[in-house]
């Protein structure tokens, strides 16, 4: 399979975009993955689901602004160079 580093970057951008568009109220809370439903107790084992919810929430918080910049660059480059 011919993978280039550019396709890796594309894949990464697409995956992070996919995580960023998961809406907190409309979607995640409906399926029980909301940020307020994660913290069960103070045991030392958060469990996989809690870790995943934590990860989604932190990705959405951290990557919001950089994603705007990166997506704009991608749009401009794709418009210019196809």
């Amino acid at each position: 399979m011919a993978f280039t580093l550019y396709s890796l970057i594309q894949t990464a951008i697409l995956c992070v975009n996919a995580v960023a568009v998961l809406h907190e109220e409309r979607f995640l809370s409906k399926i029980g993955w909301g940020a307020d439903q994660g913290i069960g107790g103070f045991g030392d084992e958060p469990g996989i689901k809690a870790q995943l919810m934590n990860l989604i929430r932190s990705v959405r918080t951290v990557m919001r602004v950089p994603l705007i910049i990166v997506n704009s660059i991608c749009i401009v480059l794709l418009l210019l160079f196809g």
């Binding site: 399979m1 993978f3 280039t4 580093l5 890796l8 084992e45 996989i48 870790q51």
Partner: protein
């Protein structure tokens, strides 16, 4: 292990051939030191360089302005070098990387033997020295980056060789092979990091450790492709079987001590979802290696 003979002498000779003034004997008896002590080398080299530049300039153009310009230029270069070093150190931890390249020939030979034949080795624990892991030179179980880096480059070259013997070679193919293998490595390391995070495994495995462990399979891949080139498809499949089993056993025995909890690693059956998940993770990581080994080499053998 014999430190004083070849590796120290080789480095000593190499330093001397580069024109550095170094008159102290290399210090090999201290396990805290990763490399020989060359701290006096660069400073002396720089002052010697500047003075050697200064004298011919004074001889050629005996003008104080050009002398001043020369000194200013070299101080600018030093300043730039410092800035580059400082900024580089912020992104890539150079001192941590140095640990992974502190190897010598005996370690490399033993580790390569261990990668293709891990069945006789008994003690897989990494030895520590006051909370810091010992350099790979002194402990065969420590991960290093020298073997993976060299094996990766050799894999690219061997892939080019395989393409050449089948009249399929072109320079772009080498670049494509290199980037494909690199992308798979990145994906594998990211998947391992993600699964380690999701399972909240408290381990001292750093990202560079994971890169090192993922890079060990390139040794097996090189052996497979070479066997396939020399002995045909039968040789390739036999060697594939052997190297896949060896790397599977190697990874399980190495990762078991790092990922599983202490009691579980010693073979005691610890019941519990956490340890079961961790065992599954270890087996998944170890099973991914043969899959990648097959995936990245089967198209090279026709």
């Amino acid at each position: 292990m014999d430190y004083t003979s070849d590796s120290a002498g080789f480095r000593h000779r190499k330093l001397q051939s580069k024109g550095r003034m170094k008159d102290t004997a290399p210090d090999m008896s201290d396990p805290n030191q990763l490399f020989d002590d060359t701290s006096s080398g660069p400073a002396r080299h720089r002052t010697q360089d500047m003075s050697s530049i200064g004298y011919p300039a004074q001889g050629l153009l005996s003008e104080p302005v050009s002398n001043f310009a020369m000194a200013y230029g070299s101080s600018l270069a030093d300043h730039g070098k410092e800035m580059v070093d400082k900024n580089l150190a912020r992104f890539i931890p150079i001192s941590k990387l140095k640990y992974y390249f502190a190897v010598d020939t005996i370690y490399v030979a033993k580790k390569l033997g261990l990668l293709v034949f891990p069945y006789m080795h008994q003690n897989w624990e990494v030895s520590y020295q006051q909370d810091t892991p010992v350099a790979p030179r002194f402990d065969i179980n420590a991960p290093d980056l020298y073997i993976p880096a060299m094996a990766f480059i050799t894999y690219i070259l061997v892939a080019g060789l395989a393409f050449g013997t089948q009249d399929r070679f072109s320079p772009e193919i080498l670049g494509m092979q290199a980037s494909s293998a690199l992308v798979w490595l990145v994906i594998e390391v990211l998947a391992m990091l993600l699964s380690l995070y999701l399972l909240t495994v408290n381990t001292d495995l750093t990202t560079i450790d994971l890169i090192a462990f993922s890079g060990y399979k390139y040794v097996g891949m090189i052996v497979e492709v070479l066997a396939g080139l020399v002995f045909g498809r039968i040789g390739y499949y036999l060697m594939l079987l052997w190297c896949c089993v060896s790397i599977f056993v190697f990874m399980i025995r190495t990762l078991r001590l790092k990922i599983l909890s202490e009691s579980a690693a010693e073979g005691v059956l610890v019941r519990g979802a956490k340890n079961q998940l961790r065992m599954y993770l270890t087996m998944a990581i170890a099973a991914a290696q043969p899959i990648f080994m097959y995936w990245l080499t089967f198209h090279l053998i026709r």
